[in-house]
């Protein structure tokens, strides 16, 4: 490159200069918690809860997951928009979460973000030229004339025209604004770019333009992308490797092709099977998940996915209980969980205190409905009755504890470790990868591109 590039300062971050294919960024047990606004006590929101992965130079690592899974927080933590609660992010010998002063500035120059919302990511009282130039000004890049020249070349590079320099964001469409956002992110020639849902606010036809542009730029500039998205088809198209997140954890991580063809983790499988195919003739064997993800304030004790997992391991001695009964137990637990989170109004608390009936006293109806026409073996009937008694008094938490103790399996008690699942360094967190259990794929419907 002939342009006057910013000299990398001698102050470190030597790790950025690694060769393509080597590990650029190494994330280990990263945690980011948000304190709740409550002055007195209160659980923090565990947005990212112990995440480990590597990012290799020149690759595109996709992070997918549903809203609230912590993928955006993860991206923001990597570029130091959020402070990490624990763990580390290594670049060579430096820990990004601990950087300060000049080192931090060096990281800020080399790690950039493209934001999701093109409406909100550009200051609409500044001209496009000023917006793209601002990072250059902050880092004292070249002379003012050189900066202006660089901005013009950047605009051209992202598919805009030079004369757009003095236009305001209002005069652009969503796709063009996103191009401006990309130009701004590239101004300082960063090594690493976090793309936070860069196309999800755009229409399909425009989305394709931006995806093509991103891929061209990566090729030309040797960029490393962290691509955050909820749209699996986009991730499949653009990413080299994919990490699937659920409730602050990476459930599965591996090369895109293998992961999409033969997903190993039950959550990945459910997620993939939920995506509607743009092909009306496709026959899908869909796994529809029950309920919604639990609150990240109060994640399950064992596997994060255990509350919704369709292939959850049964505890010993209950393998022969029929599926519907077992499902009813899971629904019962889900109901109690929802109740324990529901808020009681003052009048309800008073009624409860005085022993009157409240909407929470309907637990018997729930039990009735779930278990009425079922033969329950004593080993199930007993804990259910006990839990019902506890819940009737408004104590859902002990009821839940009791059910977990009596009817919970390894999924309810221990967080699963990462297991290698095929030859390609793919990892998946699920107890079923243990030798003693059947693989998830063996017990659920078939999912994946390989049909």
């Amino acid at each position: 490159m002939s342009r006057p590039g910013p000299e990398r300062t001698a102050t470190g971050l030597a790790g950025l200069d690694c060769d393509p294919g080597e590990t650029l960024l190494s994330v280990r047990d990263l945690r980011t918690y948000y304190e709740s606004g409550d002055l007195i006590g209160g659980q923090p929101v565990k947005a990212v809860d112990g995440v480990s992965f590597d990012v290799k130079k020149g690759e595109t690592l996709g992070i997918v997951g549903e809203s609230g899974c912590g993928k955006t927080t993860l991206g923001r933590t990597l570029v130091r928009l959020e402070a990490a609660t624990g763990g580390e992010v290594r670049v060579g010998d430096d820990d990004v979460t601990q950087l300060s002063g000049e080192d931090l500035q060096a990281w800020r120059r080399n790690a950039q973000v493209v934001f999701q919302d093109p409406e909100s990511s550009l200051n609409d009282r500044m001209t496009v030229g000023e917006i793209v130039r601002e990072p250059l000004d902050v880092h004292d890049w070249g002379t003012p004339a050189e900066r202006r020249a660089r901005v013009r070349s950047l605009l051209e590079k992202v598919g805009l025209q030079e004369e757009h320099y003095y236009r305001y964001p209002h005069q652009f469409s969503g796709g063009q604004r996103q191009r401006v956002g990309i130009a701004r992110a590239l101004a300082l020639e960063p090594e690493f770019v976090v793309l936070d849902e860069p196309v999800s606010a755009l229409d399909v036809s425009v989305q394709a333009q931006i995806l093509n542009l991103l891929m061209d730029l990566q090729e030309e500039l040797g960029l490393t992308y962290l691509f955050i998205a909820h749209d699996l088809s986009v991730v499949e198209h653009i990413c080299d490797r994919v990490a699937v997140m659920y409730l602050g954890n990476v459930m599965e991580l591996g090369p895109t092709e293998e992961l999409f063809e033969d997903p190993a983790n039950p959550y990945t499988r459910a997620l993939l099977s939920a995506v509607p195919e743009p092909d009306p003739t496709a026959e899908i064997d869909r796994m529809t998940l029950r309920g919604t993800p639990p609150s990240p304030r109060d994640p399950p004790q064992g596997c994060p996915f255990s509350t919704r997992c369709p292939v959850k391991i049964r505890p010993e001695g209950f393998e022969d209980v029929d599926d519907e009964t077992w499902e009813a137990i899971e629904v019962f637990r889900e109901t109690l969980r929802a109740r324990s989170r529901a808020e009681r109004s003052l009048s309800e608390q008073a009624r409860e205190f005085l022993g009157f009936e409240t909407r929470f006293a309907t637990v018997d109806e729930v039990v009735e409905e779930l278990f009425a026409d079922r033969e329950l073996p004593g080993s199930i009937r007993e804990p259910v009755d006990r839990a019902t008694d506890l819940a009737r008094d408004g104590d859902e938490a002990p009821a839940l504890d009791h059910l977990r103790e009596e009817l919970g399996s390894v999924c309810d008690h221990e967080p699963p470790a990462a297991h290698g699942v095929d030859a390609t360094a793919r990892e998946s967190r699920c107890h079923r990868h243990d030798d003693e259990y059947e693989e998830p794929a063996a017990v659920g419907p078939s999912v994946g591109d390989a049909e």
Binding site: S36, G37, D38, I40, G68, T292, S295, A338, E343
Partner: protein
């Protein structure tokens, strides 16, 4: 965070506010050259009396100790005695005498706008850009722009001359009342007394509530306009709810939410305005008492009254939060659905 822990948090926040508010009062009282003791003994200039007054007021102590004493007395609700305005009477007793008139005045100057301004505003919001909307809106703005003291002066003049101007005498109309005297607040449960007291306070309450009336009208109008465009109103229409019911059920209740702080905020604003209105109408209320204490340099009385006002303001704030928690189920709800 539940609604009630939100509410508890708000109440907790009131403590430092009372503390700082009281401190500010102390600073104001002490930053000027006014010597409370000198004001107490007046022009006689007797050194001995002066020293003894100083001592009994605690002025011979170091300033920080005075501050601590001042805080301790107020926070234990020992308001002390008036020294100049009504020498030797306990402040509590004065409040007991003066406060009812102010409360009576304040009550009606909150109620009148509520029952006049709000309906007018809602009406204008339901019929935007019609002639009646313009008249109501413009009227509201001008009505709000009128200074209370001036409006009071005009009211007094017009009412005293009502015979010449309108052909009937206000003072003897329906019930015999005076225009510029405090209302009689004895035995209000007797309808006649009640009505008399109401009529006596009506002009003053109208004046004091004028700004609120204009405000509530304007904000009521915009709140209705805004609520009308909410998605849930469209949903209600989409499920076939008749127009009238949409207005009553889905628009009004939601439009009331932004009005809660307006109404309570105004209730507090009335305290300041009461000085002028009470002066013009010669209603010996708290505002008037405060004014008299100020210009007579009765600083102990001023300090205690100010503390009383701070408590009132904090109380109104708590009422506001309570109203909020009652009217809006979302208050304090930061969490996620289950």
């Amino acid at each position: 965070m539940s609604r009630w822990s939100y509410f508890a948090r708000r109440v907790l926040l009131m403590i430092p506010i009372v503390f700082f508010g009281t401190t500010i009062t102390f600073v104001i009282l002490r930053m000027g050259p006014i010597d409370p003791a000198a004001a107490v003994i007046g022009a006689s200039g007797d050194t001995e009396a002066y020293t003894s007054v100083r001592r009994s007021l605690g002025l011979d102590q170091p300033l920080w100790l005075q501050y601590v004493d001042y805080l301790r007395d107020l926070f234990t609700l020992q308001f002390g005695y008036s020294w100049v305005v009504n020498r030797g009477r306990p402040v509590w007793e004065l409040i007991g005498v003066y406060a009812p008139r102010t409360i009576w005045l304040g009550f009606w100057s909150v109620m009148l706008p509520l029952f006049v301004g709000l309906p007018l505003g809602f009406y204008a919001g339901l019929n935007p850009n019609t002639l009646s909307d313009y008249v109501a809106s413009f009227g509201g703005i001008v009505w709000r722009a009128m200074p209370n003291f001036w409006l009071a002066v005009i009211f007094v003049a017009v009412l005293t001359q009502s015979e010449q101007l309108f052909g009937f005498q206000w003072e003897s109309w329906l019930v015999e009342t005076n225009i510029v005297t405090p209302p009689e607040l004895q035995r209000l449960w007797v309808p006649e007394n009640f009505f008399g007291a109401f009529k006596a306070i009506l002009p003053a309450a109208l004046v004091l509530g004028s700004a609120s009336m204009g405000n509530e009208m304007r904000i009521g109008r915009t709140a209705v306009l805004e609520t009308k465009n909410e998605n849930y109103v469209e949903t209600a229409r989409a499920k076939g709810v008749p127009g009238r019911k949409i207005v009553y059920k889905h628009v009004f209740r939601n439009a009331l939410i932004p009005l809660v702080p307006i109404i309570t905020g105004e209730a507090f604003l009335l305290l300041g305005g009461s000085v002028l209105v009470e002066t013009v109408f010669s209603i010996n209320g708290l505002g008037y008492l405060f004014y008299a204490a100020t210009i007579n340099a009765d600083l102990p009385l001023v300090g205690s009254l100010m503390f009383f006002f701070i408590l009132l303001s904090v109380g109104i704030n708590i009422v506001q939060d309570l109203l909020y928690t009652l009217i809006d189920p979302r208050v304090g709800y930061g969490g996620e659905g289950a």
